[in-house]
């Protein structure tokens, strides 16, 4: 028995050595850390889809691996470090909660390049990137106000962080441009991915008379509830039409692939530089899924709104923006709020009756 074990161990060692040796040849190794499972059909699913597109586009110039379901707690730092130690030279950490862990590992490995999604801490070897999802939210607000009969929208939130809050505000501002008296009910699921909780929140909103649902959580649960209840909903992160063939109006699709391809190429060419990218509809990082289940006039209005945001003639946070308490928000961007104000948004706009969490 002991001899057998020794042979087995030796065989394993030999195999390991050959495998490692073969993969070391000149390919750029790219690592990804996902918050959820790759099958969430939302946030992590889109990042994984983009990784696969990158693999297809760059062929044998790259090799990639991912770790899914990585907890934003103490495990994150080890997971990132493990990717680096496995030889990855470009690492994408795809959730805000990985920020401090990414910063720590990046500091230890100055010759490895890091890309952190939705964060704000950068270094010479650490870039940040994100999408202007609020642009898509504004369009959704316009559509929702047109489609709602009850005049009450339902919103499943994850955490009251600026990104989610700016999404809610953009939705309401878009909706108010159609119906100034639109109402919204918000339920915080307090999770990014928990289909059970998300579904419960969606059901509660539907029970309270909301007839258009939107969500800032990662699974298609809310879409499925909307389909069951014969009301409308917007998808999140990916095109969720197969979960709501009669319910989905459109979906904000995160289109990371072009960015991943571009950054991997830059890393291969040696032109990679630390940067902060915040792309929207215009740069194609945020894409609207086809406008479905709506009359032609609503679809035309949605397309018009999308075009206006793209050409810059419409900014979702155009001044004046009135806060919930009636005060006018300082207009730091000239004709609209500036990026800093959007990135740190922690107030509701006028027209939202809910209390801002923690205030």
């Amino acid at each position: 028995m002991k001899k057998l074990l020794t042979i087995a161990a030796a065989a394993g060692l030999a195999l390991a050595a050959t495998t490692l040796g073969a993969s070391a040849a000149d390919k750029l190794k790219v690592g990804f850390i996902y918050l959820g499972p790759i099958g969430d059909y939302g946030w992590s699913y889109q990042h994984e889809a983009a990784r696969q597109s990158m693999m297809k586009a760059l062929g044998d110039k790259v090799e990639s691996t991912y770790l899914e379901n990585v907890n934003e707690g103490p495990d994150a730092e080890r997971a990132i470090e493990q990717l680096v130690r496995a030889g990855n030279k470009l690492v994408f950490t795809t959730s805000f909660g990985f920020m401090d862990a990414t910063v720590k590992v990046a500091k230890r490995h100055p010759n490895v390049l890091f890309e952190h999604a939705t964060g704000f801490k950068r270094a010479a070897n650490l870039s940040t990137y994100s999408g202007r999802f609020y642009e898509g939210r504004y369009i959704q607000g316009v559509i929702a106000a047109k489609m709602s009969k009850t005049g009450v929208l339902g919103y499943v939130g994850s955490f009251p962080i600026p990104e989610v809050v700016s999404g809610i505000n953009a939705t309401i501002l878009g909706a108010q441009s159609v119906n100034p008296n639109i109402k919204v009910k918000i339920i915080w699921a307090n999770t990014w991915f928990d289909p059970g909780k998300e579904a419960d929140a969606a059901k509660a909103l539907a029970d309270q008379g909301c007839d258009v649902l939107m969500q800032h959580t990662d699974s298609p649960a809310a879409m499925q509830i909307a389909e069951q209840r014969h009301i409308f909903a917007f998808g999140q992160d990916s095109d969720m039409i197969k979960f709501g063939p009669h319910a989905q109006l459109t979906s904000i699709v995160d289109n990371w692939a072009p960015y991943y391809i571009e950054r991997a190429k830059a890393a291969i060419d040696g032109t990679w530089k630390s940067q902060d990218v915040w792309g929207g509809l215009k740069s194609n990082l945020v894409v609207m899924a086809p406008y479905t289940n709506m009359p032609a006039d609503v679809k035309a209005l949605a397309e018009k709104t999308e075009a206006a945001i793209k050409d810059g003639s419409l900014h979702p946070f155009k001044c004046p923006v009135i806060a919930q308490d009636g005060s006018t928000v300082p207009c730091k961007g000239g004709t609209h709020l500036d990026d800093g104000q959007i990135l740190s948004m922690n107030f509701y706009v006028k027209g939202i009756d809910e209390k801002f969490p923690g205030k």
Binding site: A8, T65, L67, N71, P74, R78, R85
Partner: protein
């Protein structure tokens, strides 16, 4: 030739030692089949899972970091389970310990508090964990409530209590509304032992806990009481031991250890209080306790082994491109075999030769 399980006259001491090793061997064998079935070289896969992490200083240090809370909780649970007391709620006691200790860290955050902060936090976490664990214990001895249910349900109470705190009164005012407290001050942080690794003083505390528990169990009256109440409750009553007091005592001890593990984890590798501080440590520690044969030193080994499955699981995701779910499958298979092999301690397998039918048929 039918197989029967036959009760042994005595527990088999030899099998008690072999059983966990047999379980691990069977797990390896089963995993080899699973790896082969999904088209991975089974030898290489087992190497990546169970050997590679041991060949590198960094992964070894992470192994210790991961095993520390598992061992600390597992030792406490082992004391409970030996006495036939079923604390399933260590996860909740872990959380409450983390919350109680964090209270001091949050209250002193940004002040020039001295070096008393960390000891006070550790003490608060330990005491809170013990008190929280005594709720199901007292419910059991006073009202006869099943401690399995009450201790498990209190896990969710603890989770939501922490949720409330980090989303409400304790939320970091500069944290962009994320549900987390501010980072703890240096005086409220468990120091690391080496530069460049996350191994912290808590690991030494875990070792001390293992040694103390081994001494208490093996060499003190209390340890004798725990073992006797578990093995022969009637005899223990005649010996004058009070089983109810022991329920409260073992719950308090295991709660204290879980609470201590909680505050160490929060003040150590995490550095602030946030939801998701535990990836199920309190539940995984139940596996650790049984895999370690409810023996403190065994728990230490089992804790390290289970940590190895986590770290190896990550290596395997990277090197073999297998899903995370496979790690959970491994842990499940392991627990299954541990329990199955344990039945061999009390039972023996016998083959029964078929009786000739003719003898009865002739009448």
């Amino acid at each position: 030739m039918p197989l029967v399980l036959e009760r042994r006259q005595e527990r088999s001491a030899a099998i008690a030692v072999i059983s966990p090793l047999l379980a691990i061997a069977l797990t390896f064998a089963t995993m080899a089949v699973v790896f082969a079935a999904i088209g991975k070289n089974p030898l290489y896969a087992l190497y990546v899972y169970f050997v590679e992490p041991l060949t590198d200083g960094y992964t070894l240090s992470e192994l210790v970091v991961k095993a520390t809370p598992l061992v600390m909780i597992g030792v406490g649970l082992a004391l409970c389970y030996i006495a036939n007391v079923w604390n399933i709620g260590a996860e909740g006691q872990f959380t409450i310990g983390a919350v109680a200790g964090s209270w001091i860290a949050v209250a002193t955050n940004g002040t020039n508090a001295g070096h008393w902060v960390l000891p006070a936090m550790l003490a608060a976490g330990t005491v809170a964990g013990a008190l929280y664990a005594m709720i199901p214990a007292i419910c059991k001895v006073r009202f006869g409530a099943s401690e399995i249910l009450t201790s498990l349900m209190l896990v969710y109470v603890a989770d939501f209590f922490m949720d409330y705190l980090v989303r409400g009164p304790w939320r970091d005012p500069h944290g962009m509304n994320f549900p987390t407290t501010a980072d703890f001050d240096p005086v409220a942080t468990v120091p690391t032992l080496f530069d460049g690794s996350r191994v912290h003083a808590g690991s030494i505390a875990a070792l001390i806990v293992v040694m103390l528990a081994a001494v208490i169990l093996g060499r003190t009256i209390k340890g004798f009481e725990i073992r006797l109440v578990g093995a022969a409750p009637r005899a223990a009553r005649f010996a004058g031991f009070n089983a109810n007091q022991l329920v409260v005592f073992t719950f308090a001890i295991s709660g204290a250890l879980a609470g201590l593990a909680g505050i160490i984890e929060v003040a150590g590798p995490i550095g602030h209080l946030q939801p998701g501080i535990s990836p199920g440590y309190g539940f995984t520690a139940i596996i650790v306790a049984f895999l370690g044969r409810l023996n403190p030193v065994g728990v230490l080994i089992a804790g390290l082994f289970l940590a190895l499955t986590f770290i190896g699981g990550e290596s395997a995701q990277i090197a073999l491109k297998v899903p995370l779910d496979l790690t959970k499958v491994i842990q499940g298979i392991l627990l299954f075999y541990v329990l199955a092999c344990d039945s061999l301690i009390v039972y023996r397998v016998r083959f029964i030769a078929p009786q000739p039918r003719a003898a009865t048929g002739s009448a």
